[in-house]
C-alpha cells in the first residue's frame, strides 16, 4: 500500500463512518470486558437494530477508556456523552435515548477532571477506534507517519526527530530513546533486531496491556519506524502470556498489516521490509530486564547477563538489538508525524512529553491516565483520581512497582518526572501508581514487595538470590513482632549490599521499597520492633512477641 492508497482508504473509512451519524462506543478493555461489556455491546447492537436505527447508529468495540473501576463504559458521539456501569438490561433505555435526552441515571460528566486534566498522545486512539480494525486505525491517521517517513525521510532524520523530542524510555529507567536508537543504528552488523518489551510485570501496572489491547497497530507502526531508523529487518513483540486479549489483538493486527503491505517485504512500495513475530512470556518478572528478555526470546531461562555489552551492541543472537517498551513505541508515530519539537514542548525540561499511569489502590477513580510530565502527584491523586475514598487519610503512593518506592505526603506537590522521583528514592518505573491510605502498614508493604522480589529473583547472582530471601526474613520477623533492634541495622546493611552488588536491575532496585519506607516511615518499623504493635492494625503480631 502506498501513501496515496493509504490516504484514500482513510478517506473512504471516514466517509463511511460519517454516514452513520451517531457512534456508540463500548469499551472492551479487560476491565470492562470482565464486567460484561461484550453482552452490553450485543444488547445495544440488537436494540438499535430493532429500533430501525441501523443506518444512523453504529455500535462499535473500542479499547480502554481508562476509567476501569466504573466499567463497562459506553460513549456516544457526536453528543459527547459518557455512561458508566452500563449493563445489558440498560440497553433498551439507552438505545431509546439516542438523539434525545441523555440517560442521566448512568451519565458520567465528560468534563470531569478525570478526563479534563489528561493529555493523550500514546492513548489518543484508545476508546476511539476499534482495535481489531486496521481501517479504523488508518482512518485515524495511522500508518501515515510510517509511509511518509519511508517516502521522504532518511533513517537518520527519524532518529533526529526522536532525539529532538526528548523521549525517554517509558519502561522504567528513562534512557533517552534517540540515543539508544542512534547506538543501534551505528552498530556494525548485517542483522539487527527490534524488540518491543510488553512484559509488563510490575504488579499494579496495566498501561502496556491497555495499549496493546486498545491500539495494537500503534505499537507495530512505532516498531516499524524504529526498524527503518536503525536498519533492522526483524522484530519481536514480547507479551505476557497473562494478557490473552493483547496477544490475540496483536496477532490479528500483524496479520492485517501484512495483508495491507504495511509489514513484510517492500513496505509502502519501498525497498524496506520488516517482519514481526510475537513471543509469549511465561510469567517471570525478571524478563522485563532487557538481557533476560532477550534470553527468553531465544527460548532460554530468562536470566540476565552482565552489561556491557549492551543489547544495542550485542543483543539477540549477538546482533545489535533495539529494545523499547510498548508505551515508548506508542509515542513514535505521533513524534514522527508531528515532529520532535512538538513533543518536546510538552512536559518538563528533562522529561518531555506525557506519561501513562495506572492509578489504583485507595483512590476514588482508579484507571488508566495519560498526563504531561511535571504534573504533581496531588493533581493526579486528588483531582484526576478524585481523592481518597471513605473519608480516609492519604498515607503514601507507591510508584515504580517492586523497583520503586513509597512516596509520602510531603512530596505530593513535587513536579513529577524521572529525576524528581529518583531524588526521593523511588522511580518512574513503567507507570504503576498505587495509592495507600492509613489502613496500609508500610512495613507490611515493604514485606509484600520483598516477597515478590524473592519469588521473582532468577537465582543467578548471590546477592539477589540469597539477599532478598534474608531481607524478606527480617521483614517477616518485624511484621510478626519478633524482630530486634539489631535486625533493623542488618536490614539496612543488606539493602546497601544487594543494591550495589546485584547483577541486574531487579536485584539492584529490590531494596527500594524497604529503603523508602525506612526513610519516610521509620516510626512504623520501630513501633513493630519496640512496642510490638502495628500502627495500621494490619500485621498479626504474634501473641508471644506481644506478651
Amino acid at each position: 500500500m502506498t501513501l496515496e492508497e493509504l490516504q484514500a482508504l482513510a478517506e473512504k473509512t471516514r466517509a463511511a463512518a460519517a454516514v452513520a451519524g451517531r457512534v456508540v462506543r463500548v469499551c472492551q478493555g479487560t476491565g470492562c470486558h470482565s464486567a460484561g461489556s461484550d453482552t452490553v455491546q450485543q444488547a445495544l447492537a440488537r436494540e438499535t437494530k430493532e429500533r430501525g436505527m441501523g443506518e444512523a447508529v453504529t455500535v462499535m468495540r473500542v479499547g480502554c477508556r481508562g476509567l476501569c473501576a466504573s466499567g463497562p463504559i459506553v460513549s456516544v458521539s457526536p453528543d459527547n456523552l459518557l455512561y458508566r456501569s452500563v449493563e445489558a438490561s440498560d440497553a433498551p433505555e439507552l438505545a431509546a435515548s439516542l438523539g434525545g435526552e441523555p440517560l442521566e441515571r448512568l451519565r458520567l460528566p465528560s468534563d470531569s477532571p478525570f478526563f479534563a486534566r489528561q493529555k493523550k498522545i500514546a492513548l489518543e486512539n484508545l476508546g476511539q477506534i476499534d482495535p481489531e480494525s486496521i481501517e479504523d486505525y488508518i482512518a485515524a491517521g495511522g500508518y501515515t507517519a510510517l509511509l511518509t517517513a519511508l517516502a521522504s525521510m532518511a533513517p537518520a532524520e527519524i532518529i533526529q526527530q526522536v532525539s529532538v523530542s526528548g523521549l525517554r524510555g517509558r519502561g522504567g529507567a528513562g534512557y533517552p530513546s534517540g540515543l539508544k536508537w542512534g547506538t543501534v543504528a551505528k552498530a556494525a552488523g548485517a542483522e539487527k533486531y527490534v524488540v518491543c518489551n510488553g512484559d509488563e510485570g510490575d504488579p499494579g501496572a496495566f498501561m502496556d496491556r491497555s495499549v496493546m489491547e486498545g491500539d495494537p497497530h500503534r505499537v507495530l507502526e512505532g516498531m516499524t519506524l524504529a526498524a527503518y531508523a536503525v536498519g533492522a529487518k526483524h522484530g519481536f513483540v514480547y507479551v505476557r502470556a497473562e494478557y490473552p486479549l493483547a496477544v490475540s489483538r496483536l496477532r490479528k493486527a500483524i496479520r492485517q498489516a501484512e495483508q495491507y503491505g504495511l509489514l513484510g517485504d517492500k513496505i509502502g512500495g519501498s525497498d524496506f521490509g520488516f517482519k514481526v513475530e510475537l513471543r509469549l512470556g511465561a510469567g517471570a518478572f525478571v524478563c522485563g530486564e532487557e538481557t533476560a528478555l532477550m534470553a527468553s526470546v531465544e527460548g532460554q531461562r530468562g536470566t540476565p547477563r552482565p552489561r556491557p555489552p549492551f543489547p544495542a551492541q550485542a543483543g539477540l543472537w549477538g546482533c545489535p538489538t533495539l529494545i523499547n517498551n510498548v508505551e515508548t513505541f506508542a509515542n513514535i508515530a505521533p513524534i514522527v508525524r508531528r515532529g520532535g519539537e512538538w513533543y518536546a514542548a510538552i512536559g518538563t525540561p528533562k522529561s518531555k512529553g506525557t506519561k501513562v499511569f495506572a492509578l489504583s489502590g485507595r483512590v476514588v477513580h482508579t484507571g488508566l491516565i495519560e498526563v504531561p510530565m511535571g504534573i504533581t502527584l496531588r493533581e493526579i491523586i486528588f483531582e484526576i483520581g478524585g481523592g481518597i475514598p471513605d473519608g480516609k487519610k492519604f498515607k503514601a503512593v507507591q510508584t515504580g512497582g517492586p523497583s520503586g518506592g513509597c512516596v509520602p505526603e510531603k512530596f505530593l506537590d513535587m513536579p513529577l518526572d524521572y529525576d524528581s522521583l529518583v531524588s526521593i528514592g523511588s522511580i518512574m518505573g513503567s507507570g504503576g501508581m498505587i495509592v495507600m491510605d492509613e489502613t496500609s502498614c508500610m512495613v507490611d508493604v515493604a514485606r509484600y514487595f520483598m516477597d515478590f522480589c524473592t519469588g521473582e529473583s532468577c537465582g543467578k547472582c548471590v546477592p539477589c538470590r540469597v539477599g532478598t530471601a534474608q531481607m524478606h526474613r527480617v521483614l517477616d520477623d518485624i511484621t510478626r513482632g519478633t524482630a530486634s533492634e539489631g535486625d533493623l541495622a542488618r536490614l539496612e546493611e543488606l539493602c546497601d549490599m544487594v543494591r550495589n552488588t546485584s547483577l541486574c536491575g531487579l536485584g539492584q532496585s529490590a531494596p527500594n521499597p524497604v529503603i523508602t519506607t525506612l526513610r519516610y516511615f521509620r516510626d512504623e518499623y520501630e513501633a513493630h520492633i519496640r512496642d510490638k504493635r502495628c500502627p495500621a492494625g494490619r500485621c498479626r503480631i504474634s501473641q508471644e512477641a506481644a506478651a
Binding site: 464486567a35 476509567l67 473501576a69 504488579p203 501496572a205 510469567g283 517471570a284 527460548g299 531461562r301 504503576g432
Partner: protein, 176 residues
C-alpha cells in the same frame, strides 16, 4: 518463518514420534513446524503443550526436547523457570487470586486464606479429589477492579471473601 535461520543452521525438521496417538500432539507438532523446529521456539512450544494438555509431563518434555534438539536438562530448566508452566495436572476448576499490589492492599490475602481454609490446600495445590486448584497470580493487570480473581478463566472484580468461597463451594458440590 525465517527470522533465525541465519543464526541457527539447524533447519532439519523433525521425525521424532509423538508420545501417543492423542490428537492434541498434532497441535504441538504444528507449532513446532511453524517455528521450523528451531530451538529458540522452546517456550512457544511449551505453551502449545500446556495449552493442549493443561500441564507439562515428562513424555511431553522428552518429545519437545527431541524434536527441537534441546538437551533434557535445558527443557526442564526452562519449564521450571517460568511461573506459567506447571508440571502437575491442574484441578478440574481453577481459582486464581491476583496478588498484585493493588489487590494486596485491598485484601487479596484474605481471599487466599478464605479459600485455603475452605479447601484445605495452599496456593499452588490442588484438592485431593482433583476438583479445585488454588493459585496465586503476580498481577493480572485488572487493578481497577481490585481485589480480582480469575475463576475458570473468567475475571471477577471487587470480590468479597464470602462470595468467593460461595463460588468455590458450588464447584465442590456439583458434579459439573
Amino acid at each position: 518463518m525465517s527470522v533465525a535461520q541465519t543464526h541457527h543452521g539447524r533447519f532439519l525438521g523433525s521425525r521424532t514420534p509423538a508420545p501417543s496417538g492423542d490428537a492434541r500432539w498434532k497441535l504441538v507438532a504444528a507449532t513446532m513446524r511453524r517455528h521450523g523446529y528451531r530451538a529458540d521456539a522452546l517456550i512457544e512450544v511449551l505453551h502449545a503443550v500446556q495449552g493442549a494438555f493443561g500441564f507439562l509431563d515428562d513424555d511431553g518434555l522428552r518429545f519437545v526436547a527431541a524434536s527441537l534438539r534441546v538437551p533434557y536438562s535445558r527443557v526442564y530448566g526452562v519449564a521450571t523457570f517460568y511461573q506459567h508452566f506447571t508440571l502437575r495436572p491442574p484441578g478440574k476448576h481453577t481459582c486464581v487470586v491476583c496478588m498484585g499490589t493493588t489487590c494486596y492492599i485491598k485484601g487479596a490475602q484474605g481471599l487466599v486464606e478464605a479459600v485455603q481454609d475452605r479447601l484445605g490446600v495452599k496456593p499452588g495445590q490442588t484438592t485431593k479429589d482433583g476438583r479445585v486448584s488454588l493459585l496465586e497470580a503476580r498481577c493480572i493487570g485488572s487493578c481497577g477492579l481490585a481485589p480480582a480473581v480469575v475463576l475458570d478463566g473468567a475475571m471477577h472484580g471487587k470480590i468479597k471473601a464470602e462470595d468467593l468461597v460461595g463460588k468455590v463451594e458450588e464447584w465442590m458440590k456439583h458434579d459439573s
